[in-house]
Amino acid sequence: MRAAPERRIRVLVAKPGLDGHDRGALVLCRALRDAGMEVIYAGLLASPVHVARMAVDEDVDVVALSLLNGAHMTAFAKVANELKERGAADILLVGGGIIPEDDKLRLERFGISGNFGPGTPLRTIIDHIQQRVRKERWK
């Protein structure tokens, strides 16, 4: 695949759990959009299956997952598995929320990178997504 310079990154922002803390997710949506990406928000209470289905249907480059309720290990991993089962393991997964250090290593094994904690500058997240997409999807 060749990256046309005008091509825009498509991102699905999702909270795959019982978690109404959407402040970070909504701020991120606005920031990614302002950085020139196409942003789709999965809305609240989307199950991991629903998130994976949306990611495939919407043909996104990246799914940005956010949870602040402590369920990230279960829920993020489920999204990764669901994507794999749909033959969409090439969709990149990026995580964020209240994620302890030990869990970050385990999440990376599922291919979920970033796992940004509170106070992360938006620029850091935007750069991370752009770099991964260029390196892994637009190569």
Binding site: L18, G20, R23, L26, V27, V39, G70, G119
Partner: protein
Amino acid sequence: MDRTRSSPERPGYIENPSGIPLQRLYTPLDIAHEDYLMQIGYPGEYPYTRGVYPTMYRGRLWTMRMFSGFGTPDDTNARIKYLLKQGETGLSIAFDMPTLYGFDADHERAEGEVGKCGVSVSSLSDMEILFDGIPLDEVSTSMTINAPASVITCMYLAVAEKHALSPSVLRGTVQTDILKEYAAQKEWVYPPEAHLRIIRDMMVYSTKHLPQWNYVSVSGYHIREAGSSALQELSFTLADGFAYLDLGLEAGLKVDDFAPRLSFFFNCGMDFFEEIAKFRAARRIWSKVVKEKYRAKNPKSMLLRFHTQTSGVSLTWQQPLNNIVRTAIEALAAVLGGTQSLHTNAYDEAWALPTKEAAVVALRTQQIIAEETGVVDVIDPLGGSYYLEWLTDEMEKRTYEYLAKIEEIGGILQALKTGYIQKEIADTAYKYQRQMEHGHKLVIGVNAQVMNEPSPISTLRIDENARLKQIERLRQVKKSRDSKKVELALDELLQSFRNPDSNCIYPMLKAVKAYATLGEIVEIGRQVFGEWNEPSLL
């Protein structure tokens, strides 16, 4: 004054966080328009700017109420007993996410979430364990739950009955405020009209049977945590409060029969004077509107009594010990603002639920303010400050403007259904984040005085077996209960949900006592009312 005007200043903000432009200095001229008795007055007297009680903390200190809950009911029961022993004076229960959304611990959606953000409750059996050995006639209990608030209230009543207590002696608060769920916390099940109908039934039931029960705690806390300014928190919370007054009136209650039992719950952030002004303006506006628009005669209807929690979002993941200082400053503002009860956050809460040690430091923070600072010795000690009185007026004026705007949209329900409120909050959150990114707003440890050090604290880990334990207990409950009785009770509840003229609390209480589970009861409602989908917020 001339020297103040002509001297140079260091660069920085000329607006406070709510966007109110600030002068360098305030003088008697800035509050010269004020009529002392009409605007400020005396504590315990209309318009209650200086406090709802005539003696305030000279009469009685605020209730030190620490929000706690995690893991199984057994875990939380042990934590509550520990906090009571440490001098806590009221209970405050946090429920886990499945409970807040009305799912039992064995539901598929509960996987990975049981006991994580609070205690797991699926049936009356769990509530019996949660309150085991706690004298419910002596403590007051606050329960932070909204969509299934009526079910949890019924469980509490059933536990009290097992303790041989009359409902009339029960003191406490159940949050119940569904309007702010659509605005901010986003823990709903049904569309708003359905939840409001159940709340209406609970208002009527409580007015009749629970004279000391605050059945709605109108909450700004979550609106603020979701990103609003203090001004938006104040405006949207009061708009919600007035909507509950309208709901009670529609149910045929008289304002003076139920308004005294509405209570409020506010956030307290870092801008010290703005917060104190917010609390004072809240009392003044509520009393004025309840008196003038709702024609209340009973002074108790006009009292805005409130609980405060220090700001969760002001706490930083970086350099967590600094959070002790932040919480202390916020707690001091809440006390100077005249709060009736207070929860102080623990320094480790940007990381996880608090450890026992961190929760005790938070409680000690309140005790130090109460015993060592002397701020409790004089009522509203900052009253009369030129700046504070001016800012209180300004918050009041701008709140009326917001209320008029909501009115223009067609009321708070319409403003929520169109996403107006949610977008206002998200826009403010984004604006704040951009100020941080550009360095216009500095937070120590985050974008100033940054240190790259490993974390110096250890945090609470929730037992992953909590879910298995809860599923096993649920299995036992379902095995030992009279399933015929459950079925009949649930059917009666279904009929009541279908008939908006009936009061659903009576059959709900029956179902709870028959050990119908939270998930079963909520599901009955789902069959009748359906689910809620949020409007697009992008």
